[in-house]
Symmetry: C2
Subunit: 83 residues, 2 copies
């Protein structure tokens, strides 16, 4: 059993109006140390794969086919074994 | 300069219809090893705080006041120094 955490963000070259708006809101609350903000999606899922390599393969396929738009988005994931 | 990564998820006790729908879609694509799915938000921001303790304090305050709804959401964050 594996637990996967996937973070999806817009690519650096893609404008992120949502992030800009949140940054403005953060500033208006008085947090002027915040410099740059990007907003993305987060997926947490468990996989009952037998081995790590297979879990990783499936995860990458899921991201490519459904969870991530590779044209405008990047993703990172962490995979940890759960007993 | 610090870089913060914040993951926000619905609490375990709160129903996540979006996660359920994504899980169904993942299954319909043939990934039957996926067991449970929760969907959340992801924020990436940079802070020009002078020290780690202050950066952490500001981050927690931002989450409490704007980024997270503490009634139904939980969050985790990572803070790393960038030069």
């Amino acid at each position: 059993m594996y637990k996967a955490k996937i973070n999806v963000t817009l690519k650096k070259s893609v404008l992120d109006p949502q992030g800009k708006t949140v940054l403005q809101a953060v500033h208006s609350l008085g947090f002027h140390s915040a410099q740059e903000m990007r907003v993305g999606k987060y997926f947490e899922l468990s996989l009952n794969s037998t081995d790590r390599v297979k879990a990783e393969q499936e995860l990458k396929a899921m991201c490519a086919e459904l969870l991530v738009n590779p044209v405008i988005e990047d993703y990172t994931f962490q995979l940890e074994e759960v007993r």
